[in-house]
Every structure is written in C-alpha cells, then in structure tokens.
Chain length 495, copies 2
C-alpha cells in the first residue's frame, strides 16, 4: 500500500480535527491550519476521543503517533505535505478561495481533497493551476472510525488522482469509494437528505416523535444497513429468484401514495435490466442462502456487540436482547441437580463464527469461555442465581488448569460435563470439566477451583444452607468416582 508521508489539514473543526486524528494515529505527521481561536481545543478533544476508540478498536500495533503541529499560515501548513485535506465551512466562495490558495502554495504533485458534503468539485477547482490533483474526499462523522470517503472528481480531475487517493486511504483504514459522476451531495448525502426530509414530514404531521422514529430505524433496517446496503438486502428479500423478482414484486409500491414526495423515476424495462445486471455483478457470486447466512451472522454479532453497550447495560437492539435473555433465565424451569454416579452435563453450545481463528480452529481463549460458562451453569444448578448474588454472596473462580487436546471447528456442537472433586467442601468448589465434541472426541479438560465469598465479610465463607443442601449430595455422589485422568497435575508434569 502507498502511504501518505505527511498530511496537512486546512480547517480544524470536528471534521478537520478527526481527519488529523486519523492521520496521526496511523503514524503520519500533520500540519494543521485554522485561525479559529478554539481550533486547538476542538482538535484536542476529537483526538482524545479517537485515541480512546482506537484503544478498543484493535489489538494490532499502532505506530508511534504522528505529530500534529499548528501552523501560523496556510502556506506554512502545506509545505512538504503530499495529502492536503480542506475542511473549511460549506460555502462555495470560501472553499474555492481556500483551495486555490492551497493549490498555489503546495507542491504540484500533492493530492488535494475537499471534505465538502455537497459542492461540485468542478466548481471548487475552477481557479486552480493544477486542478487535476484536486477531488472531493467526503468523510462521515466520526471520521476517525467510519471508513468511508466518497471520492468525486471534477471535470479537470485526472483518473490517476482518484486511483492514488484510494491507494493512500487504505493504510489509514479508510475506503475510498469512487462516485462515477459528480452531482450535488454525491450519493450518501442524497440518501440522507431523502430520509431527513421524509422524517421532518413525519414529525411535522405528528405521525410519531423523534424517539419513535429513531427506534424504528435502529431496531430494524439500521442493523441491516450496517452490514449490507439497500440493494443487497433487497436481493435477499427477492429470494432465490433474485433482484428481478424483487423489483417485479415491490416496484409497484413506487406509485402508491406513500410519501409526500412523488416525483418518481419510471421503473421501466431498461432500468430493471440495469439494476438486475449490477446486482448480479455485485452479489451474484453468492447464492441467496449464503447471503442469508452471512446476514444473520452479522446481525447476531451486531446485537451481541450492542448488548455490551453503555457500560454493559445494553444499548438499542442489544438492550432488547438483554431483556429477552433475562426473561429466558427467569422463566427457565429450575434444573435440579440430580446427584448420580456420573459427571454432570452442564453446557451444550455450537462453535460461533467469531470464535474461529485464521486457521479455521476455535481460538484458544474460547475454550476458557466454554469452561467459564459451564461453571456458571453448575452454580445455577446448586441455587446460586441472580437473587443469591444480589444478596451479597457468590462463588469466584480463583484457579484453573486447562489442557487443550484437540481442535474444535466452526459449527461443532460442544458439550461440557463436570465431576465434583472430593476436595470440595462448599467454601471450596473444585471440579474437573471435560469438553467433548458431539462425536465423543475429548477436546479439552479443565480443573476449576472456585471459592464462596461473602462481599460483606470480604472473605471466603461457607455457602447458605440451601446451596449446601444441593451441593453436598453431588459431592457425595461423585466421591466414589475414580479420580479423573489429568486431575491434580501441574503444567508439563509427566503422566
């Protein structure tokens, strides 16, 4: 990938500041010019947000942060820069003036991008001496996270410029998407503007309030669009018959009186052919079943991510999922621990796509997750539920010994069973767990020690009588079982 060596940001508001943060976090030095007295503060705040986000975003090694230097003049700022990003307020005369000034002061082969969200690049580059290297690079807030830059060339922009811009955006984690023809507001803001106008009508006419409108979006098509766009989503809706079928089925809606705005394109055969062909080129390599599978996995992943949102309280659709799960736990029939002379079945789970590493195997720490979930299941069996924990007592894991014996793969059905070890006395709960595939292959074992802790006393204490009454029969029943092969071992100990 071709990297930007040095960047200049002209205009340091929320957008310009976030460009600077993107560059700096990718290791690129940035010259900043903005005469606004608050510019340094705003850029600092955006950079702090960006650093916080990148700390969570990736485990990959970020390079040493590039320096952000505030310059006294535009001319000084663009010296030595091979990418100059203009992000001044959205007025044609102002932007054109600034861009012309950049053009005059910059090295002739530096790329010059404008953050405009709607002005035509042909109008912006009109007075430049080297307009062929000027283009629109329209980002989306928050610029340091969202990867899109719409790349739009004007009448004088060269094709090489757009290609070079795409190449230089990749190493900073951005995707330059080239828009074929220039048009005011390009593609993204056209779509946003259509929704915004329709949304204003809905509020104006008291159909709903802003919160209801937002909920409708984020509980439904918002999640679809986070991973597939409009056409790929509808292609799936058309089923095996594909895009053409969808258009035949839903095209007529266009003439229904559904919106305030009824200047509607004629969905004639030529347009249907064009869309069907483009959709085939875009998605035709995968069947509808495969697209459905990918869509559902993505939606599951998004909802699980949102369940962890707002400091673990859940956000949006993730909060709804959390509520659903709480209901499932509350209404699940209390399993009774049936003391028997065999290990207890604790967990059955399928290997999730996100658990797989690049080798196609379940990644190391997911074994620990299976055993941790199984030990939670053991606790529920002996009556340690949400109410018990809320009353101030709980078991804490203090020690584990895990042996990885064979590989789990995507979609494998895994089971975890446990033998309670005789060292358990209630205050201590020590078990030996086995993780097997549905075909019976033993994949891993875990010797697991928990202590029962009272948060009031701040130390390990015996559990309540009810919990002990469920646990003791298990300890007794398993007391006669032979010690499991592998228990009591230290790491690397010879058999």
């Amino acid at each position: 990938m071709t990297s930007i060596r040095k960047a200049a940001c002209i205009g340091g508001g929320v957008i310009g500041g976030a460009w600077a943060a993107r560059f700096a976090l990718a290791g690129i030095d940035v010259n900043m010019y903005d005469p606004h007295p608050e510019a340094a503060r705003i850029v600092g705040e955006v950079l702090a947000n960006a650093e916080r986000a990148y700390g969570m975003l990736t485990m990959a090694p970020l390079p040493p942060r590039g320096r952000i230097v505030f310059c006294a003049s535009l001319k000084e700022a663009v010296q030595g820069a091979d990418w100059i990003q203009e992000s001044v307020p959205e007025r044609l005369e102002l932007k054109r003036g600034v861009l012309t000034e950049i053009d005059a002061a910059a090295s002739p082969d530096a790329l010059i991008g404008s953050s405009t969200s709607g002005l035509m690049p042909t109008d912006l580059q009109r007075d430049m001496k080297h307009p062929e290297r000027m283009f629109v690079a329209h980002p989306y807030n928050p610029v340091y996270l969202l990867p899109l830059a719409e790349l739009v060339g004007g009448g004088k922009t060269s094709a090489e410029t757009l290609k070079a811009a795409q190449e230089k955006l990749a190493p900073i984690g951005m995707k330059g998407v080239v828009i074929k023809r220039e048009i005011e507001a390009f593609v993204g803001d056209r779509l946003l503007e259509a929704v915004w106008r329709e949304g204003l009508w809905l509020i104006h006419d008291d159909i709903c309030d802003t919160e209801t409108l937002d909920d409708v979006i984020r509980y439904s098509f918002g999640m679809r669009w986070a991973q597939m766009g409009l056409f790929e989503t509808y292609r799936i809706a058309g089923g095996e018959a594909g895009m053409r079928h969808f258009l035949a089925q839903f095209g007529p809606c266009l003439s229904w009186p559904w919106t305030k705005l009824t200047d509607v394109v004629d969905l004639d055969d030529a347009l249907i052919d064009k869309i069907a062909a483009q959709s085939d080129a875009q998605s035709g390599a995968r069947g509808i079943r495969e697209l459905e599978r990918i869509r559902d996995e993505n939606l599951v992943g998004i909802m699980q991510a949102l369940k962890a949102g707002d400091g673990g309280r859940g956000w949006g659709a993730g909060k709804i999922l959390a509520g659903f799960e709480k209901h499932l736990w509350k209404t699940a029939p209390k399993k009774e621990a049936r003391p028997g002379r065999e290990p207890l079945d604790l967990l059955e789970i399928k290997v999730h796509p996100s658990w797989i590493d690049y080798n196609g195997h379940m990644t190391e720490f997911r074994y620990a997750q299976c055993f941790a979930d199984a030990s939670d299941s053991l606790l529920r069996l002996i009556g340690v539920d949400m109410d018990y924990v809320a009353a101030g007592n709980s078991y804490y894991t203090v020690e584990t010994h895990t042996r990885l014996l064979d590989e789990a793969r995507l979609g494998d059905l895994l089971r975890v069973s446990a033998q309670i070890l005789p060292s358990s006395d209630g205050r201590k709960l020590q078990s030996f767990m086995s993780l097997t595939r549905a075909d019976g292959t033993l994949l891993a074992t875990c010797e697991h020690l928990m202590l029962h802790v009272s948060s009031a006393e701040g130390k390990a204490v015996p559990p309540g009588a009810d919990v002990m009454g469920r646990l003791q029969p298990l300890i007794d029943a398993h007391g006669d079982l032979p010690p499991p092969e592998g228990a009591g071992r230290s790491v690397g100990q010879k058999r």
Copy 2:
C-alpha cells in the same frame, strides 16, 4: 411480562414463517394455516435459519421449542390462540377478507395483528365484529432476529389492545413501537421508500452502480443507524449546543437542489421548537460527550463483530478493519527480543467495555484472552509470524494454569510480562506470565506451555534455526532468574 399462551399464523411465507419461528423458539405452540402447497417447505427453511441464528445469539436457556402445527382451515388454526398474526399477500381486499374471517372464528379477546407493510388498519378492520382488538404489527425481515414491530391502531382499535400487544411481544424478544397516528406505510417504510426512490434515481442517472451505493451506506450511516437513529445522531453532530444548533446549521440544506424530489416541509419556528423539545425528551438525560462515548463504543463493537463475519474473513466495514490491521502488523517495526535478566513485556491493553460482567469486573475468560494474546506476542518476538505459519510450522498451546488474584475493571490499563521457564527447549516453550494493572497490582498469573508442531509431519518438532536463534538467548538469559512464585503448581495445591 405477560406471555402469549398460543399463537396462530395465517399465511406462512417468509414473514409468516418467521413469526412462527419467533413464537416457537420462545416456547409458544403455533397453529399455522396457509393453503399454498409450498408453505411447509418455506416455514421449515425459515425455522432452520432461525434455529441456527438463535444458537449463536444467546447463551440463555431457550425453552423447549413450541410445536408448529399445520391446520386444514383458518377456523381450526385460530382455535385457542390468544395472538393471531395475519401475513397474507399485500392486497387490501384479500387482507380485509382474511381478517374478517379470523375475527369471526377467534375468541373475542384474542389479539389480531396484521403484518401489512403499508395498508391502514382502519381499512383492514372495517368489517370486523370485534375490531377493537385488531392492529398492525409490522415486522422487519429477518423477523426472527430484528426486534422491531411497528404497532399501529385503526380508528376502532382500543388503547388497551396496543398496550397488551407491547407486553406480549417483550417475552418473545420483540419491541412493539407504537406509531401515534395511522398513515400509509407507517414510519419505517416511509423512510425506506424515500431512500429507495432516491437510490433508483442515482442508478438511473448513472451517478453510481448498486454496489457503490450499498458500500456508501454500509461504510457510513448504516453503522450509525444500527445503534442510534436519525435525530440522536444529528443531536451529537450539533455538539454541546444540541439539536437546535444542528437545525440552524443544516436546515438551510433543505432548500438546496440536492434531490429530484423537492416538495419540502417548511422548517419554521414551530417545527424547530417541536423537534428540539422532542429531542430533549429523548436524549437530554445524557450530555453530548456521553452520547459520543456510547456511539464510539457501539461503532467499535459493530466493526469488531463484522470483522468476524463471513467465516472470519471479515465483511463490510469489518473487512476494511481487518485490512487495516494487516497493514499495521506488516509495517510495525520488528521488535527484537532483547534478552535481559528480567521478564519480557509482551502486551499492554485497556479493559474493553464488552469485557465487563454485570458486577463491573472483567469476566473470567477475558483473562485467558489477555494471556493468549500475550503468547502470540511472544511468538512474534521470536520470529513466528504469518509467513512462518504459512510455511507449515506453528506453536500450539497445549496446557495452561491460571490463578485469578484480583479484579480488573473497565478502562484499567493491563500489562502482561513473561519469564521463559528452563524446561523450554524450542520444541517446548513454557513460560510464566504475569498480568498487572498499571498501578503495579498483580491481577493474575498464567503458566503456559506451547509445543512447536510441523503440520506436514503432524507432530512436535524443533523450530527452525532462525526461531531457535532468537529463542535460545531468552531461555539462557531467564535461566538464572529465580523460579516464579506460583510456577509448577497444580490447582488447589498448598503453598
């Protein structure tokens, strides 16, 4: 929560079948009526998709699946049902007829929902004897995953009906969002239709193709809308000055010639006051900084979820993130293992919001993740990189012993260091790792054993000379260090 006791689905296509799957997976028996010869096949396929998705969606205990019974008549199907969902094709006369038939055959207090995506409930309930219990419950595909049902009452629908419907949807994981006034296409499809129409113009006019349009959506506002809607997102864009400032700044765009469709609402003072007040009611409890923080955490979580998409190859913005990370790894300066007489620093990481359990502590298996990531880091230090693995050799973790000594909390900066143990000979790589908080508190230790395996030979073999040349100095340098406290122990072993 009030639960549905028994459901009936009239119409068993993709929508009706997915309703049936939602009900059945929440433990509710379903009577299904659809004379279409393919109905059983379609419902079966949708149910299979839904079961697969739920297997990944939640660890909570799903109740025994409800039975789905195909009935010979509509009348038979609705017997005993307290929720009847109509999902027949989108034609007013047909739907009205079916709903009137349902009304006549069902128990008078059963709730009757229609899946219509656009017809007015007043028109649908016209001929009913008990229209007060009829309403629109408009879901979104895939119905078994997306939680939204738009609830819309007609002129004769009672307020109690909508309240009861909301209560009964919660235990099946759905959110009933009540739309204040009925209107064709309600709220979601109005917004979708506006985008669809605008999208068709963009394709028609060759501004872009379908793939570009989809990419623009999913790399930008699609991810924003998966977690916050239109108004909350724009509230943040307005900064500390809030919604009113945003409207003042961006309101004028409405009169710009940005779209083909220019019948635009007048954004007068009354409408501005209304939106600002509604937005305050919706989001005013949180400051803009807090909303930014939540938004960024959600976006990070969504991108990480998408990075795991398509069987780990990455999807959409997640694929871009994967490419960015690959670039970071490739361009990171190769760290040299500097053999010294102290443990090696391997990892520095912040506790991510999604790592926290309901107690506010880092959850058990994330300790294992930190140690697994640190051992990856150790491997890179000795030259086991992507190329080495691609050539057919790698280290596999076979055994770990972990002690959890103290709690990590949200935002804690964690460090992992390692001491190579003298049992290491290259074929075996045994280390003792310590996880500490930035303040120096020891939170956990892990004794970790890896074997160097040749995939061609299918067994443990010594590593290549280059790797051994980097590892041996570490083994030698650490050979003189005192054995770490806690190494060589089995679970529960007395000190």
